[in-house]
């Protein structure tokens, strides 16, 4: 297992390097430049050129990339060309925010989806099954910004029971922070519920139809034990992979939700950096989100192998 993890970590480093090259090449192809994005469309070309020179963004692309890589190797992510602040504290704060929101969303959506999917599978073909499946699909089909706007209108403005903004006052306690994050977490849960519940239902239906479950039932084991120890353990394997891959989306892909709830997450930070051609900030953000994706996949694989002895033995061999 240790060798497996080490090999995956080695591959992750190569993947992250490739991401940094891809992002750097992509940004070179985009129209515009940092000086223009700071000074605006009506600034004179001379002023833009002078500012780009001052910021060092007129250096050859390879020089800029080399300088950035050299800094990263030493632990220095550089200075944001547009905001003129060090990148690392910005990334750290944004990543922390995104993790907090992802955590609350996971705490809401994972148990709900698993319970919903399991109930649907146990009542397969009934009105309950159809209800859960249809509700899940409907919620997944509605974009998160629509769900978010409805939630804000109902819970934030009309009923006034939850704060509208996900950003809390400095020094706020854990409960206040939780209440601020609840509405965006619900909006995200609505999107993810249908997907995860559907996977859980499919896995459970397949497991319930399997020989080992039939054998367990014929052995006379209590129904609850059959479900918990035999069916669910196997049914959850694909669902875990799905949940893990969603972690990357929850950390780095929430631009719309972050904008709607005015939350300083890493998705918004990357989006702004891309718009501004801010290479150090964009590269830093892409590496962090890429790292999160890779880590989430690794955790999923490890969990998968822990839950599935066949995979564990293959890895050991």
């Amino acid at each position: 297992m240790a060798r497996f993890i080490l090999r995956r970590l080695g591959l992750a480093v190569i993947t992250l390097w490739l991401i940094s090259v891809l992002v750097f090449c992509s940004i070179q192809l985009l129209p515009g430049n940092v000086g223009r994005s700071i000074l605006g469309p009506l600034a004179s070309p001379q002023a833009v050129a002078a500012l780009n020179h001052k910021l060092g963004t007129d250096k050859p692309a390879l020089t800029q990339y080399r300088e950035w890589v050299t800094g990263v190797v030493k632990g220095d992510f550089g200075t944001s060309q547009k905001l003129q602040v060090p990148v690392r504290p910005q990334l750290t704060a944004a990543l922390r925010h995104s993790f907090e929101l992802a955590l609350i969303a996971f705490l809401v959506v994972v148990p709900l989806s698993l319970i919903g999917g399991t109930i649907a599978a146990l009542r397969v073909g009934t009105a309950v099954d159809r209800g859960i499946t249809t509700a899940g699909l409907s919620l997944s089909a509605v974009p998160e910004f629509v769900t978010g706007v409805v939630l804000i209108a109902v819970l934030g403005i009309w009923l006034n029971v939850l704060p509208i903004s996900a950003a809390w006052e400095p020094g706020a306690g854990p409960w206040t922070q939780f209440t601020h994050l609840l509405m965006p977490a619900i909006a995200l849960s609505c999107v993810l519920f249908g997907y995860i519940a559907r996977m859980a239902r499919a896995g459970m239906v397949e497991a319930l139809d399997s020989d080992y479950v039939r054998t367990a039932i014929l052995k006379g084991l209590p129904h609850r034990t059959v479900i918990r120890r035999h069916a669910m353990r196997n049914a959850l394997l694909p669902t875990i992979t799905v949940i893990a891959t969603q972690l990357g989306y929850l950390i780095g892909g929430l631009v719309v939700v972050e904008i709607l709830f005015n939350y300083q997450g890493i998705g918004r930070l990357i989006y702004n950096a891309a718009q501004a051609h801010d290479v150090p900030m964009l590269e830093g953000g892409a590496i962090v989100v890429g790292g999160v994706y890779l880590l989430a996949t690794l955790i999923a694989d490890v969990l998968y192998s822990l839950l599935n002895p066949r995979i564990r033995h293959q890895a050991a061999e």
Binding site: L42, A43, P45, I152, I164, S165, N262
Partner: protein, 558 residues
């Protein structure tokens, strides 16, 4: 009156003559008089001597009203997130300029509605006869927030930095061709002289609040570090600034103008990436005011009595260019036909709920004192458009691609133009692009904005039309997306820039407006109002047409 005349310059006496002769209105006299550097008490005396009240005080809708603002409290404001560092040299976005205005001050201020100038850090100003040199006397006792006195050396330092043509200043869009580094000199500690590159009768506007970068900073200070201290001369001082998140300011207890000290104890700005969350924050009680709303985004607030809508007339507009050197617009009759298709009042109603002024295909907005409003307004006339197309050999219409920036109400404007043009048989194919793609590299040959046959571009408010008459329309203009080259126009604009009195400016304006109506290189369809919103219980919030949110006189009424 004779006593007054004896102490005034030749140009000022000419202005007085113009008013006595009835060639300019009292309102225009006040506006022009302030540009010439005449003080408000002096203007009032002259107006009174000529028989009448000065009429300069109007119910200002540029600020929230409804009750008397009480001292104290914290005002929470939502604004769009500044796109970069708060550097007075480089700020060019709305969030950034709103931040500069909290602790910084300018030499002059133009009233958002009347465009009348008044001194802020400058006490008075005068020019030489050909308006190529302007001398500003600074107010006495002005100090920075750390107690250091502000002197002419600080003004020279600031202006040299902003006008350095080799530097990266955003203010070069205003100072380019007008003022360069070295053109600002200190006569004495309280007097500054500006020697211009070319005569400019509107120069005092160029150092006003509308040129948002031109806040006076301390000599020797690094503008790139401004964000750390926000050191200025204004009524608030920085408490905390957090990049991309927000900022808070507290009343400056040592403000030099104690009579106008700030009413609120504290200001709290929260940065938002989009308009809709700001509106929801106001509705949900998270903030007390929003720096800017659009009609389309803020409809819910416009009709809600719980909120005050601050409505500021501005000269901000969209330009619809038609390339004069490219088919089908090489024939001016085709351009005229296109302009005659457009239902301007209908567009204003649909896109702005009536909160905009009609444009007449020239940069001369109705607010400018130099605009000649006697030039007939162009209106929709489909039969005349068809006739013109027929005369140009296009009786069956034509097809053209309209490049649009996917921003603000511009995509909706494109649809309106498409629908209007169809009535005359013109097929408009809309090509929507992100602002980044639309502007491209901002140079001819590398920018859909400057290269497209037809396009829509957004232009911000200007207190004087000089920039708008120049860059988008002069033969050598760097923003000349219409590729309009007309020596007659170029000559008229040069005369306009050098005109020293309003009557001369108006005479030239009439010729420019008539020429542009005939040539129609660009459609100027409307000049829209700048809107902000506050809770009904908040009074005294002033919003300017360039987007500053001024809160020194703001406070809660209940």
């Amino acid at each position: 009156m004779d006593d007054i005349r004896r102490t005034r310059s030749e140009m000022e006496n000419h202005l007085i003559d113009e008013m006595i002769a009835g060639r300019i209105t009292r309102r225009d006299f006040i506006r022009r008089g302030t540009v010439m550097g005449m003080s408000i008490p002096l203007i009032s005396m002259i107006v009174a001597a000529c028989g009448g009240a000065n009429g300069s005080s109007s119910g200002s809708s540029s600020s929230s009203g409804g009750g008397t603002a009480k001292k104290g409290g914290t005002i929470r404001v939502a604004i769009i997130v500044p796109t970069g560092a708060i550097n007075p040299l480089t700020v060019g976005d709305q969030g950034g300029l709103a931040m500069l205005g909290q602790t910084g001050e300018w030499l002059t201020i133009a009233n958002p509605e009347t465009l009348q100038l008044s001194g802020a850090l400058a006490d008075s100003w005068t020019s030489n006869a050909d308006v190529s040199e302007w001398t500003f006397k600074l107010k006495s006792g002005v100090t920075f927030q750390d107690g250091t006195p502000m002197t002419s050396a600080d003004v020279v330092y600031t202006m040299d930095m902003l006008s350095d043509s080799k530097g990266g200043s955003n203010a070069l869009s205003v100072f380019g061709g007008v003022l360069d580094k070295g053109g600002t000199t200190a006569v004495d500690p309280s007097t500054v002289k500006f020697t211009l590159l070319a005569p400019n009768g509107n120069f005092p506007y160029l150092v006003s609040r509308d040129n948002y970068n031109a806040i006076i900073i301390k000599k020797g200070s690094d503008p790139a570090s401004f964000e750390k201290t926000f050191m200025g001369t204004g009524p608030f001082k920085l408490e905390k600034y957090t990049t991309q998140v927000g900022a808070s300011f507290v009343r400056n207890p040592t403000y030099w103008d104690s009579a106008n000290a700030a009413l609120p104890d504290r200001l709290e700005f929260t940065f938002y990436a989009d308009e809709q969350p700001q509106i929801q924050a106001l509705q949900g009680g998270t903030v007390d005011a929003i720096g800017q709303i659009s009609v389309s985004g803020g409809r819910a607030l416009l009709s809600d009595p719980a909120y005050t809508i601050i409505d500021v007339p501005s000269t901000a507009h969209r330009q619809v260019h038609m390339r004069n050197d490219k088919a089908p617009f090489t024939d001016k009759r085709v351009r005229q036909a296109m302009a005659l298709c457009v239902d301007r009042p209908g567009i204003i109603e649909a896109l702005f709920a009536g909160k905009a002024k009609l444009g007449n295909d020239s940069p001369f907005a109705p607010q400018y004192p130099s605009t000649d409003t006697s030039v007939p307004q162009r209106t929709q006339n489909i039969s005349m458009a068809k006739q013109l197309l027929s005369d140009a050999g296009m009786a069956n219409g034509f097809s053209v691609t309209l490049n649009t920036e996917k921003a603000y109400e511009i995509p909706d404007l494109a649809l309106q133009i498409q629908s209007n043009a169809k009535q005359a048989g013109i097929t408009v194919n809309i090509l929507q692009q992100s602002p980044t793609v639309y502007y491209g590299d901002f140079t001819f040959g590398n920018s859909p904005w400057l290269d497209s046959t037809m396009g829509i571009t957004d232009y911000a408010h200007r207190s004087v039309p000089n920039v708008l008459l120049g860059a988008p329309l002069l033969s050598t203009g760097t923003w000349n997306s219409a590729h309009f080259k007309n020596p007659g126009y170029d000559s008229l604009v040069k005369q306009y820039f050098g005109a020293t009195d309003l009557q001369t400016q108006k005479g030239i304006s009439k010729q420019v407006e008539t020429l542009l109506l005939d040539e129609t290189p660009i459609m100027f369809l409307y000049f829209y109002d700048f809107l902000g919103a506050t809770k009904k219980t908040l009074a005294g919030v002033e919003i300017t047409p360039v987007g500053q949110v001024q809160l020194a006189k703001a406070g809660f009424t209940a």
